[in-house]
């Protein structure tokens, strides 16, 4: 038998994490699901955290964030889950006589009833107003417990998108794209002279001249790639 490299129990362990994650001095700490985050007493539970038997535990991988008394995890990756009043960009994926079905990049398609559609539509005339494949800017009206959601196009600026391009990034990167108080998004708009609408489901509408659109696209690609090289671990 040829001898293969062997990992012995005593040399595999490089760190001693028995005392839970060491939070001292580090502003942001990377956690993985199941990681113990200390006592739950006096702490409020934020996103990605659960309390089990008086102790807090991470349920997603991401960066730990303490804001006031709320402990939460900013996940490295999530799918979009609709929440009421989210601004979203969706594609029409089907229609009946009085309902459009809208794809939002979420687990379930949202419905857009005729009564919440753009302008006046006659019964049976849904396809003549917005056909399958059309792109719309809309707002999430309500989300049921079973995750089916209703979107609306009644509201300022909500419309069918007829010009420009749609770009997509992962929803968890939106915060980084917008920046503190919208700084980096404002800078991006000024630099590229484009009109940019960032929706909460990670899609964005970019309208402007071709040069500007291409520049926006490059910047988004950089943002996505940068986050990939950070989050995915490589050989361990």
């Amino acid at each position: 038998m040829n001898s293969r490299p062997v990992a012995r129990l005593d040399n595999m362990s490089k760190r001693n994490t028995a005392g839970g994650p060491q939070r001292g001095g580090q502003a942001q700490l990377f956690v993985v699901p199941g990681e113990d985050l200390g006592e739950s007493k006096g702490q409020d539970i934020g996103h990605g955290v659960i309390a089990i038997e008086g102790r807090l535990r991470a349920i997603k991988q991401g960066r730990l964030r303490q804001k006031g008394s709320t402990l939460s995890v900013d996940p490295t990756y999530t799918r979009y889950i609709p929440r009421p009043s989210d601004l979203v960009i969706g594609y029409i994926e089907g229609c009946t006589n009085n309902i459009w079905f809208v794809e939002l990049g979420a687990p379930f398609n949202a419905i857009l009833p005729m009564s919440l559609g753009p302008g006046k539509v006659e019964f049976g005339g849904t396809r003549s107003v917005m056909d399958i494949g059309d792109c719309i800017l809309c707002r999430v009206q309500e989300v049921e417990e079973t995750h089916s959601s209703v979107v609306t196009m009644k509201g300022l600026g909500l419309r069918k998108i007829r010009s420009g391009v749609i770009e997509e990034i992962s929803p968890h990167l939106i915060g980084r794209l917008i920046g503190k108080g919208g700084d980096s998004l404002r800078r991006l708009k000024e630099e590229t002279e484009c009109r940019i609408v960032v929706a909460d489901n990670g899609r964005m509408w970019v309208d402007g001249n071709l040069d500007g659109i291409l520049r926006v696209r490059n910047i988004l690609d950089e943002l996505s790639e940068g986050s990939n090289s950070n989050s995915s671990g490589g050989e361990a």
Binding site: M1, S13, I50, I59, Q61, T146, N230, A236
Partner: protein, 239 residues
């Protein structure tokens, strides 16, 4: 001894056929994000075993009759590639892969917070690219890393590892020869943070005392493997 027990597989120094001591694991390496189109993925090499796991979802469950109004369903497919073993595996499902898919699903259901995604489905594809022994453990462990990579909420990650008995010696992490000619095999799925068990199978017989020994070997190994998993997820930016 099942007719096989007389094969000498542990030498006078207590070392095994591949030079390991009784409680030593084979070399493990884990990599995440290996399938770019998937929501989460993981490649795990464990000795000469290799598994690739891709996780998709949560997404709408189809057909509708499999939907559950109060929780998500897991769709686990364990499959061995035809080229994964020395004699060609017939492609497609068989009894063995169905069984492993089911026990993997049951083990993962106890950690994934399914009730957060009613009516949805989370699809987990486990592909064994190279098989030696203990592929169910590799598949289950890699699946929990891939789920973490996909951002699926879980109370803990499952670590799966097997111990067994060869020549009346209880040993950890059986290789092919020990699995084929040994006397017992005890794969377990362990939650490393609480020490709870979500998966347990046994082939062959162990006495009460041997069982306890094998149990302890698995528990210790699980901690070591868990550290590898955490390391791979945290990657370069843990510091």
């Amino acid at each position: 001894m099942g007719g096989y027990g007389d094969v000498q597989m542990i030498d006078e120094n207590g070392l095994r056929v591949d030079g390991r001591g009784p409680s030593d694991l084979r070399e493990i390496s884990i990599e995440t994000g290996v399938v770019p189109v998937a929501d989460g993925s993981c490649r795990m090499k464990w000795g000469t075993n290799e598994a690739i796991v891709a996780v998709y979802g949560p997404m709408e469950a189809h057909p509708r009759k499999i939907q559950r109004q109060d929780r998500a369903v897991l769709d686990v497919a364990y499959n061995m590639a035809p080229f994964s073993t020395t004699d060609r595996m017939r492609p497609g499902f068989n009894r063995r892969s169905r069984e492993i898919s089911k026990v993997t699903k049951d083990a993962l259901e106890s950690v994934v917070l399914l009730e957060l995604y009613p009516r949805s489905k989370i699809r987990i594809s486990i592909e064994i690219v190279s098989a030696e022994a203990g592929t169910r453990c590799v598949g289950l462990t890699a699946a929990s890393v891939a789920l973490a990579d996909a951002g699926i909420p879980m109370t803990d990650m499952v670590v799966s590892v097997a111990s067994g008995k060869v020549n009346d010696v209880v040993i950890c992490d059986l290789n092919k020869e020990e699995d084929n000619y040994g006397e017992a095999d005890l794969p377990m799925g362990i939650l490393p943070n609480s020490g709870e068990l979500v998966f347990l199978q046994m082939d062959g017989d162990l006495s009460q005392e041997e069982f306890n020994q094998a149990w302890q070997l698995n528990m210790d190994a699980a901690q070591a493997i868990h550290e590898k998993m955490v390391e791979s997820l945290k990657g370069g930016d843990s510091q």
